[in-house]
Symmetry: C2
Subunit: 201 residues, 2 copies
């Protein structure tokens, strides 16, 4: 059996990567979601092992030092990380995994697992991105401005990804990602076992 695919969905804040990932997880059979570890306290309703693996800071730092994360980051005083062993085990079992992550995180995952499929979600325009971030109603003018500046800079990283998918319309973006996943499964490098089998029968 060949390895599963690690499908990394990434993009600037406001690109819509979260909505797209929810749809993919609902609509694709047998796809797993990468669950992050964090030192943040659980919120009401969050389930250990489903939303996050909740661990304490000493433990997290130990795992960093043991190279147990595909990537990790410190955000507002809390650590977040993608546990390497769990992800690699699932891939070896032939399971596909979706990992939704910001751009810095995705690039670190790429260093550690270049065989992943790296997809950059593009907003239709910076104007639309501004509308989306403003529409959330959660950020101050200053924060919105900072996010937009950041998104503008982050677009330059799109070329370090395998694919870009324009999210002008969620249905179409989801469809394109499904096609990418299907195409990747037909890559010749992933089908050595199949070819061997044909030669035998």
């Amino acid at each position: 059996m060949s390895n599963g695919l690690l499908v990394v969905i990434s993009g600037p804040s406001g690109s819509g990567k979260g909505t797209i990932c929810k749809r993919l997880i609902d609509e694709i059979e047998n796809i797993n979601v990468s669950v992050s570890a964090t030192t943040r306290k659980p919120r009401v309703g969050e389930i250990e092992g489903k939303n996050y693996f909740f661990i304490d800071e000493d433990d997290f730092v130990k795992k960093i030092n043991n190279d147990e994360f595909l990537e990790h980051a410190l955000v507002y005083g809390n650590y977040y990380g993608t546990p390497k062993k769990i992800v690699l085990k699932q891939l070896e079992e032939g399971k596909d995994i979706i990992l939704e992550i910001d751009i810095q995180g995705a690039l670190k995952v790429k260093e550690n697992y270049p065989k992943g499929v790296f997809i950059f979600i593009l907003p239709p325009s910076l104007e639309e991105l501004k509308n989306r971030i403003e529409g959330r109603g959660t950020d101050s003018k200053e924060v919105i401005h900072r996010r937009l500046k950041c998104a503008y800079d982050e677009l330059n990283y799109a070329f370090e990804y395998d694919y870009v998918v324009l999210n002008d319309e969620v249905d179409s973006a989801v469809e394109k990602i499904k096609e990418i996943i299907s195409a990747e499964k037909n890559k010749s490098a992933r089908n050595q076992a199949l070819i061997k089998k044909i030669k035998e029968v």
Copy 2:
């Protein structure tokens, strides 16, 4: 505008690449077919520029020497070749092109145009391949045996292609190739203009 895709569909004799290509040409809008040049005489009903470009041998050899083919071959005393200039012009105009070709030809095209999308059609098994070739009723036992031996050896070239598509069922093979074409259009390297545009708006 970004370049069109050169989609090269190839595989052993009996893999079903011809049937698949006909379906793709019927079903995909705005896809062009690469028309070969040949020194073979036109058969009844064959149209110049649609089925082939019919040219004489002196002309063909001159074009070989001028490096005017993406690939060419001599088959049973007749030359066949893929005209480079016509293909490259269409690609530059953003048109996608399907090229159905045998394995040796595809590998030569890859040398000359590595940006193409190279798809190897796999028969489900050598047994099934034997049934298909026998089913044509056109070949002697000896020819069938030679074709099978050749197909067996040719399977080793699958790894020089970008993708392999199992043709156990034509509908599903056609669908997979459509997904590959769609995915390839989302490759980040093919979308520099789009990203530039988003940054401007």
